[in-house]
């Protein structure tokens, strides 16, 4: 089974319910969409992420927040890419919302008001990547000790030598 080329053309992906719903809601929020390896990723503009999630939730297009995580593409800018994995149990479909974050001191809106389950996920991202979530009820370190310096999962965090 050779890999099929990813579909990145927004026109071709318009028929998918999630893409259609987001485009109908706010064209400016959707930066880009990609269908690769049977998985749909939609890039959302940073300031719209919570509203986009709220819209999908209100439309009944997603009912479960599977995961929130991040990846560091240092030294490329924008270096961070947040990934929200949403699941619709009714339609048996997953979608990944992605947000690009510029700069070393990035922040974006928390989705905890929509899904309380994001609490731990966002705390983990804050702890290990140093991304701030605005409106999070309790944004403190969760894995590392309270007095730890630095964010270990960043690519520029030293992996050897004295700390």
């Amino acid at each position: 089974m050779p890999l099929a080329a990813p579909v990145t053309d927004l026109e071709q992906l318009k028929d998918r319910p999630v893409v259609a719903a987001l485009l109908a809601w706010n064209v400016n929020a959707v930066e880009e969409a990609k269908f690769d390896r049977d998985e749909l990723s939609i890039y959302i503009a940073r300031e719209f992420i919570r509203d986009a999630c709220a819209h999908l939730k209100a439309q009944g297009l997603t009912d479960f927040l599977s995961d929130v995580t991040c990846a560091d593409f240092y030294p490329r800018q924008p270096r961070f890419e947040m990934a929200y994995h949403l699941l619709s149990m009714q339609r048996k479909e997953r979608v990944r919302l992605k947000v690009r974050l510029e700069g070393d001191d990035a922040s974006l809106e928390s989705v905890t008001p929509l899904w309380p389950s994001a609490n731990f996920f966002e705390r983990e991202v804050f702890d290990l990547f140093g991304i701030r979530f605005l409106g999070h009820p309790y944004l403190r370190r969760i894995m590392m000790p309270e007095d730890w310096e630095g964010h270990p999962l960043r690519k520029d965090y030293p992996v050897e030598g004295y700390r």
Binding site: M1, P2, L3, A4, P6, D36, R37, D38, E39, S41, D63, F64, L65, S66, D67, T69, A71, D72, F73, A83, H85, M89, K92, R94, R96, W115, P116, S117, N119, F120, F121, L128, R141, I142, M143, M144, P145, P152, L153, V159
Partner: protein
């Protein structure tokens, strides 16, 4: 929990609660979970889990390893079902590579994953019953678990950290006598489950400790990120094995136990039913196991057989290349989920086109399920906290990673 309280108490009469520290060495926290309990007499007013004592930075370590070297690390995430973790990771990398796995390997994976589910549920049942006070069930459960560990040892050489599933198939063909042993286990297992149920299901004390305790509704469960048997016990009929099948689960017939009650008792009933269903799936996999190779035909990814290495120059070269410089994976990202014994396990793997993963993230079911614990326990007694922890079946290795 002083730092939690923005308004310090000035009125002495209003200051009725005290903070109780439960864990991290408490035996019924199933590992190194620390719970901060704000209690009013015996009742829990607020609860806050404190985790991270077992944090080993596995996600960071993965970034420094070749793709095939990550497999042994995944064993150590959820040490009660290492092969399920292996399965999730190898499925993710195979999806990144666009690789086809031979049917025999897929069915073997299903069979072993279900056996792992049984052994994981046995540890849960034994420890959960012991927390409640039924000591002897633990011994019965570990008797059967021991048999399963011997089966894993037979097939992989290790009892616990098996690393048996590899990218592209299985590490080895199963040895002679393996299938007979699995058959013998599966044939006798239902009566063993009857035995546990005889000890617990009709037991008045056990029922009283579990019924209507730590209740959570389906809506709350979905919002707080609960998954797996814990969510099905609240009435959400969703199982990734059935609804979004992977590794040829669509070819198996099985029921998904669902309950409406959403209390500790419902979670107990669902998991015990799952023991029986897993046995059914493993039996189907054993009886219908197709013939053929157990490794994909991808010499650049899959290590060659030992015999070929001794006779064929090419195989030796491929072996040398894979071991010394790994294999490259086309750039991209996948989020692969499977139904682990505890719920939705997901591996988010990002590749940048090199031989090492750029990012491996594990969405561990225990981590999300733990968030539901305060909601289950607040307003109830301290003794119920122990029952609630047992009922969501957490593994701290998976939470802290």
């Amino acid at each position: 929990m002083g730092h939690l309280n923005a308004n310090p108490v000035l009125d002495a009469a209003a200051d009725k609660t005290m903070i109780l520290n439960m864990g991290p060495q408490h035996p019924s926290t199933h590992g190194v979970l620390r719970l901060l309990l704000e209690i009013d007499g015996e009742a829990v007013v607020r609860m806050m889990p404190d985790i991270g004592f077992l944090h080993t930075g596995i996600e960071k370590t993965c970034e420094a390893k070749f793709y095939q070297q990550v497999v042994p690390l995944t064993d150590r995430i959820d040490y009660l079902c290492p092969m399920v973790n292996n399965l999730c990771y190898v499925l993710a990398v195979e999806k990144l590579l666009g690789m086809e796995i031979p049917p025999r390997a897929q069915w073997m994976r299903v069979m072993l994953a279900e056996l792992q589910r049984i052994s994981s549920h046995l540890v849960w049942l034994g420890t959960h019953a012991m927390d409640i006070g039924a000591m002897s069930v633990f011994l019965y459960c570990f008797r059967e678990r021991e048999e399963l560990l011997r089966i894993y040892e037979m097939v992989s050489g290790q009892r616990m950290m098996t690393s048996y599933f590899r990218i592209g198939g299985l590490a080895l063909d199963p040895p002679l006598g393996f299938f007979e042993k699995v058959k013998k286990f599966l044939d006798t297992f239902p009566e063993k489950v009857d035995e546990y149920e005889n000890l617990l299901t009709g037991n008045r004390i056990f029922i009283d400790r579990l019924k209507d305790v730590a209740h959570i509704s389906a809506e709350d469960g979905l919002l707080i990120g609960l998954s797996g048997p814990s969510l099905r016990a609240s009435g959400v009929d969703f199982d990734i094995r059935r609804d979004m099948p992977y590794s040829s689960y669509e070819k198996f017939k099985f029921k998904v136990p669902v309950s409406k009650d959403g209390d500790v008792w419902a979670r107990y009933v669902c998991r015990v039913q799952e023991l029986r269903e897993s046995r059914e799936i493993a039996k189907q996999a054993l009886e219908g196991l197709p013939d053929g190779p157990t490794k994909a035909d991808a010499p650049k990814v899959v290590l060659p057989d030992r015999e070929k290495m001794k006779t064929q120059m090419e195989a030796l070269i491929y072996h040398f290349k894979i071991v010394t410089e790994g294999f490259t994976v086309p750039a991209g990202e996948v989020y692969q989920t499977i139904e682990s014994p505890r719920g939705e396990m997901g591996y988010y793997v990002v590749s940048d086109g090199t031989a090492k993963p750029m990012r491996v993230h594990m969405r561990s079911p225990s981590y999300a399920n733990l968030q539901a614990l305060p909601q289950m326990c607040e307003g109830r007694l301290i003794a119920d906290v122990v029952a609630a922890i047992g009922s969501i079946d957490i593994v701290l290795g998976e939470i802290d990673r």
